[in-house]
Symmetry: C2
Subunit: 160 residues, 2 copies
């Protein structure tokens, strides 16, 4: 099963390497990961998307909890959550496909991040399905460059 | 100096641990990192934000290039680029601060990702300065939970 895991860690060097090593040491692939500081700059928050055997993941969670620099681990997949992803995508602009490009951008509420002579960079957010749909529609127009943030997730309102 | 580095890697387990280890082994902190698949699911793209001595960073770049699973490394900071970050932030909603919350959301073109009984989750994007401004305005309203994707970056139009 696919899991989205949030990890609060001390913002120290080496923590990311240890955590990534915990997953890879057990043959577990990390599909996407993002880590950035929280409101407290000494603490960072990671969102990890992974899939595989639930029992192994439980072991990884236990080991994560044992790491000295890990403050808290929770599997948001087990609760109600909101997830979003950010993509920046540079798409070719040609006279005959220009209208189609802006139609797609409008439909996905994508913002224009940069305009070049022969390409336009769009900024879009959404959950995974929405981002996949956007990519599917932009591909025939000619994607020149593409980067996504990986999933970030937050619990829906107050939950125990 | 602060650097934003893009790395294309084979999507295999262990790659993230090795790359993170390269930085921490030299006492280099990773401020933010995001990694997710590209359009080719066998290849992932990382965006790493780090700061420190330029000479050491050059060494790290060389070592990154030597890793067998690294396809390409480039320092976007040395060119013209667009960078964005995604945040999800759950903010308290009280009668007297409700209007202020929606004013801030509108000003930052933040989207409502979820509405709970006593809180609202906003989804916002921007460059670092914009995100910092948003946080500064939301803090007095009561931030309950907060997650950011870390920076993703893309080169502006065509560059050699």
């Amino acid at each position: 099963m696919r899991h989205t895991i949030s990890v609060l860690v001390e913002n120290k060097f080496g923590v990311l390497a240890r955590i990534a090593g915990l997953f890879s040491g057990r043959g577990y692939n990390i599909e996407s990961l993002s880590v950035a500081p929280t409101l407290d700059p000494t603490v960072s928050r990671m969102t990890i998307v992974t899939s595989g055997d639930d029992r192994v993941l439980e072991q990884i969670n236990k080991q994560l909890n044992k790491l000295i620099d890990v403050i808290k681990v929770w599997d948001v997949t087990q609760k109600e959550f909101v997830d979003r992803e950010l993509v920046l995508v540079r798409v070719e602009v040609s006279k005959d496909k220009r209208d189609e490009l802006f139609r797609v951008a409008e439909r996905f509420e994508a913002r224009i991040a940069d305009v070049g002579e022969r390409s336009v960079t769009l900024e879009a957010t959404g959950d995974e399905a929405r981002i996949e749909d956007l990519i599917r529609l932009l591909k025939p127009l000619g994607i020149r460059e593409f980067v996504r943030s990986g999933r970030v997730a937050i619990l829906k309102s107050e939950q125990k």
